[in-house]
Amino acid sequence: MELTAADILFYLFGFVSVVSALMVVFVSNPIYSALLLAVVMSILGIFFFNLEAHFIAAAQVVVYAGAVMVLFVMVMMLFDLKREKEEVARFSILTVLKIISVGVVCGVLVGAGAMITGDGMGFIKVSTTEAPPPPSMLLKSDINAPTKQTTNPEELKDEVVEITQNPQAGVEIFTKYTDTQKLSLKLFSKYIFIFELLSVLLLVAIVGAVALARSKGGTHHVTRGS
C-alpha cells in the first residue's frame, strides 16, 4: 500500500517539530525559542487532528499555542531578554552526566515506542468498541436525532425504552457520534468530579499567579530615585 498523504504529512511535520523542538532548547534568544515552541505545539495540534481527536487538536492550539505561549512571549518581551551569554552551562562532568542520562531515557522511550506492536504487548487493553455510556446519559435529542426523524414524543419514548432494555441498541447509536460527542459524553459521566476539581485548580492557579506576580518592585531599574 503506497504512502498516503497522511503519512507524508506525518513525516514532514514530525521532522519539523523535532528540529524546532531542538532549536527551542538550543537557540540563544528566548523569544525565538518561545515562538518555535508555539510552532511545535501547532504541529502537535495537526497530529491530533490526524489522530481524529479533533476537539483536542483545536483545544491544543487554542490553549497551548494561543494562550500559554502568548503568556510566555509576553513575559519575555516584558523582561526584554536579549541574546544570552552562555545559555548552556559550561562543559562539566555534570553536563555530561545529564546528557548521558537523557540519552538513556530517550533510547528507552523510543525503543519501547518502536517495539510496541498493535496489541500494545498487553499493556493497553484494546477495547473493540468503546463501552457506551449508561442510557440515562444519552440526551433525548441524541436519541431522536440520528435514527428516527419523527418528532412526536410517543415514538421517541419507546426509542428510549428500547435502548434501556438492550444496551446493544445503544452501542450502534453510540458509534455514529463524532469523537467530540463521545469525548464529552465520557468526560461528563465518568470524570465529572475531576472536571469540577480542575476548575478549582485553575482558580487556585490564577490567585497564586496574581499574588506572586504583584510582589513589590518594578521590572526595570527606575531612573528617578523614587
Partner: protein, 639 residues
C-alpha cells in the same frame, strides 16, 4: 520432759539470750554484769538440757537416737529438707563440749568484758554463736548442717570485728568471713553432688545406703573432696587457714570458744558424721591425711618464732587441727573425735589463761615484754601449767592419750603410712618446743615487765573456769585410754565403745610392742625438745641472739609466716580487683555502651551526609529525578 521439749530448750535458750541482750537491753549501757548474767544463764540452761539428753543416751536400754521434727523447711521437686534435730552418740558428745565449754567461757567473759563499752552486744553475739553451733551439730540433714555452718561463720565475723572502730580488726573479720565463704561454696557443691547421687541429704538415709568403695576419681570422690574443701575453710587447714591467726583480733574468750573449742572443729565433726561415705573414697582420705599432717608441721614451725601470745596459741590450734584431720584421714575417726574433745579442753584453758594474762598485763600481748608471771598470777600459772603438760603430751594427761592414739593409728592403719607418722611425731616435737618457749617467756625467767604495769591476778569469775578446765584437761584423757594400756589396769576404752555404733574405723593392725615403741618415741622426743626450749629461753636468752643472726634469713621467713598472706594478696586479691576494674572501665563503658552509641551515630551520620544533597540547585533535583527514572527503567528492562 519430752525429747522435743528438751531439744527445743537446748536450742532456743541461747537464741532467747541473744534476743534479750540484742533487742531489749538498752544498747549502750555499761552494766556488763546484767547482760553477762543473762547470757551465761542462757548457756547454762542449754548445757543442763544437753547433759540430760546425753544421760538419756547413756543407759543400756537407751534409744540410740533422740529425734525432734519441728517443721518442713524446703520441699521443692525431689529435694526435701526439714527442720529436724537429732541427738545421737556423735552429736551427744559435741553438744556437751559446746554447751559445757561455752558456759565456762560465758562465765569467764563476764570478768573479761567488765570494762568494755558494749558488753550487751558482745554477749548477744556469743549466744547467737552457741545457737548456730547447736544447729550445725544437731541438724539431721546436710542442709541444716550447712545453715549452722554459715551461721557460725557469720557470728565469727561479728565477734572478730567486734571492736570495729579499728579498721584492721574489721578487715580481719571480713577476711574470716570471705575465706569461710570460699569453703562454704565448696561445701555446697559437695552437697549438690551428694543430692544428685543419692537423691537425699538426710544423714539417717545416707547412713542406711551401702557405698561401693570407689578407687578412681568418681563422683563420690568429688563429693567428699568438695566437702573436705568446705572443712578446710571452716577448720583452717593448709590452703584456707590464713583467717585464723588474724581472727585473734577479736576478744580472747571469743578466740577461746570459737577458734579453739567449737567452730573450728565443725569440719572434723562433719567428716566423722559422714564417715561411711569418706571410707568409700580412699583418694579423699589420703588427701585429708596428708593435708592434716602438713598443716600440723607447717603451723607448728610458724608458731616457733611468734611473739604475740595469742598468735602462738592460734598456730598451735591450726597444728592440733592438722592432727585431728590426720587422724580422721587415716580412718581413725574415733581417735580424731577424741583429740577434738581433749583439744577443746586444754586449748580453751590456755586461751583463757592467756586472756587472764593479757587482762592482768592491761592489754599487753607481746610475750617478750612478759616474764616471771608465775609468782604474780599463781592460779593462772598453775592452770596454764596443766594445759601445757596436756598439749605436749605428757603421759597421764588428756593430750597424751588422744595424740598418741592418732599417731598410733597413722602408724598402724592401712590408710596411714610411716612417713605421715614421722611428720606427726616431728609436729609433736615442735609443739612441745614452742609451748615450753611460751611458758618460759611468760611465766618463768626474769620479769621483763616494765615498771608502769603492775600485774594483778584475775578475779575469781575468771579463774574458776580456768580451774575447771584444768581439771577437765587432766581427766579428759582417761575416758578413752587406749586398750594397750587399759588392759593392764583393766579400764575399758569407753570412747571406742561409745562411738562404735555410728562410727566404723579402719581396722588397725599392729602388735602391742609396736604401739608401746611408738608411744615411747613420741614421749621421749617431746620431752627432749621441751627441755632444750626451757634451757634456751630461761638460761641462755643471749644465746638466742647469736642463733638468730646466724640463721637470720630463715628466721625472717618463718617469723613472717612464710609470707603466705602477701602471696595470697598478690596472686588472688589484687588481680581480681584489677580484673573487675578492667571489666568496669573497659568492657562496660567502652564496649557495651559504645555499641549502643554506635547505633545513634550511624543514624546521625546518614542524616548529615544526605543533607548535603539538598543545596537548592533546581537542576540537580531534576537530575536526581531523571537518574532515578533511568535506574528504574534499567532495572525493569534488564530484569
Amino acid at each position: 520432759m519430752t525429747d522435743k521439749f528438751l531439744i527445743a530448750t537446748m536450742l532456743l535458750s541461747p537464741l532467747i539470750g541473744f534476743l534479750i541482750n540484742g533487742l531489749l537491753v538498752n544498747y549502750n549501757n555499761k552494766s556488763y554484769l546484767r547482760s553477762g548474767i543473762v547470757a551465761t544463764v542462757a548457756a547454762a540452761i542449754s548445757f543442763l538440757a544437753a547433759a540430760t539428753l546425753f544421760l538419756k543416751l547413756l543407759g543400756v536400754s537407751a534409744p540410740e537416737v533422740v529425734k525432734a521434727h519441728f517443721f518442713e523447711w524446703i520441699n521443692v521437686g525431689q529435694f526435701k529438707a526439714n527442720a529436724a534435730f537429732v541427738v545421737d552418740h556423735i552429736s551427744g558428745i559435741m553438744i556437751l563440749i559446746i554447751t559445757g565449754v561455752g558456759t565456762l567461757i560465758h562465765l569467764y567473759s563476764i570478768g573479761y568484758m567488765s570494762h568494755d563499752e558494749k558488753p550487751a552486744k558482745y554477749f548477744s553475739y556469743l549466744n547467737l554463736f552457741l545457737f548456730n553451733m547447736l544447729i550445725l551439730v544437731l541438724g539431721d540433714n546436710l542442709l541444716l548442717l550447712f545453715v549452722g555452718w554459715e551461721g557460725v561463720g557469720l557470728c565469727s565475723y561479728l565477734l572478730i570485728g567486734f571492736w570495729f572502730t579499728d579498721s584492721e580488726k574489721a578487715k580481719a573479720g571480713m577476711k574470716a568471713f570471705v575465706v569461710n565463704r570460699i569453703g562454704d561454696a565448696g561445701f555446697i557443691l559437695g552437697l549438690f553432688l551428694i543430692f544428685i547421687l543419692f537423691k537425699t541429704v538426710e544423714f539417717e538415709e545416707l547412713a542406711k545406703l551401702t557405698y561401693a568403695p570407689e578407687l578412681g576419681w568418681g563422683l563420690l570422690t568429688f563429693a567428699t573432696m568438695f566437702l573436705f574443701i568446705g572443712a578446710t575453710g571452716k577448720s583452717a587447714q593448709i590452703p584456707l587457714y590464713v583467717w585464723l591467726p588474724d581472727a585473734m583480733a577479736g576478744p580472747t574468750p571469743v578466740s577461746a570458744l570459737i577458734h579453739a573449742a567449737t567452730m573450728v572443729t565443725a569440719g572434723v565433726y562433719m567428716i566423722v558424721r559422714l564417715n561411711f561415705m569418706f571410707m568409700a573414697t580412699p583418694n579423699t582420705m589420703m588427701l585429708i591425711a596428708t593435708i592434716g599432717a602438713l598443716t600440723a608441721v607447717f603451723a607448728a614451725s610458724i608458731g616457733l618464732f611468734q611473739n604475740d601470745i595469742k598468735k602462738i596459741l592460734a598456730y598451735s590450734t591450726v597444728s592440733q587441727l592438722g592432727y585431728m584431720f590426720l587422724g580422721v584421714g587415716v580412718g581413725a575417726f574415733k581417735a580424731g573425735m577424741f583429740h577434738l574433745m581433749t583439744h577443746a579442753f586444754f586449748k580453751a584453758l590456755m586461751f583463757l589463761g592467756a586472756g587472764s594474762v593479757i587482762h592482768g598485763m592491761h592489754e599487753e600481748q607481746d610475750v617478750r615484754k612478759m616474764g616471771g608471771l608465775s609468782k604474780k598470777m599463781p592460779i593462772t600459772y598453775l592452770t596454764f601449767l596443766f594445759g601445757w603438760l596436756a598439749i605436749i603430751g605428757t603421759p597421764l594427761f588428756s593430750g597424751f592419750f588422744s595424740k598418741d592414739e592418732i599417731l598410733w593409728k597413722t602408724f598402724a592403719s592401712p590408710m596411714g603410712s610411716k612417713f605421715l607418722w614421722f611428720l606427726g611425731v616431728l609436729g609433736a616435737a615442735l609443739t612441745a618446743f614452742y609451748m615450753t618457749r611460751l611458758m618460759a617467756l611468760t611465766f618463768w625467767g626474769k620479769s621483763r615487765v616494765d615498771k608502769s604495769v603492775h600485774v594483778h591476778e584475775s578475779p575469781i569469775v575468771m579463774t574458776l573456769p580456768l580451774v575447771i578446765l584444768a581439771v577437765l584437761s587432766l581427766i579428759g584423757g582417761w575416758v578413752g585410754i587406749p586398750e594397750v594400756i587399759g588392759h593392764i589396769f583393766s579400764i575399758p576404752n569407753g570412747w571406742e565403745h561409745w562411738l562404735s555404733k555410728q562410727v566404723v574405723d579402719a581396722a588397725a593392725h599392729g602388735s602391742h610392742l609396736e604401739e608401746w615403741l611408738t608411744m615411747a618415741t613420741s614421749v621421749i622426743l617431746a620431752g627432749c625438745s621441751a627441755y632444750c626450749a626451757y634451757f634456751i629461753y630461761t638460761k641462755k636468752a643471749d644465746a638466742l641472739e647469736k642463733l638468730k643472726n646466724q640463721y637470720g634469713k630463715i628466721y625472717n621467713i618463718i617469723s613472717n609466716k612464710y609470707y603466705i598472706d602477701e602471696l595470697y594478696q598478690k596472686t588472688i586479691v589484687v588481680p581480681l580487683v584489677l580484673l573487675s576494674k578492667w571489666f568496669w572501665s573497659f568492657v562496660d563503658v567502652k564496649i557495651v555502651d559504645r555499641t549502643t552509641y554506635l547505633l545513634a551515630d550511624i543514624v546521625r551520620g546518614a542524616g548529615s551526609s544526605l543533607r548535603l544533597m539538598v543545596n537548592g540547585n533546581v537542576q540537580q533535583y531534576a537530575l536526581y529525578i531523571v537518574a532515578g527514572m533511568v535506574a528504574v527503567l534499567v532495572v525493569i528492562l534488564t530484569r
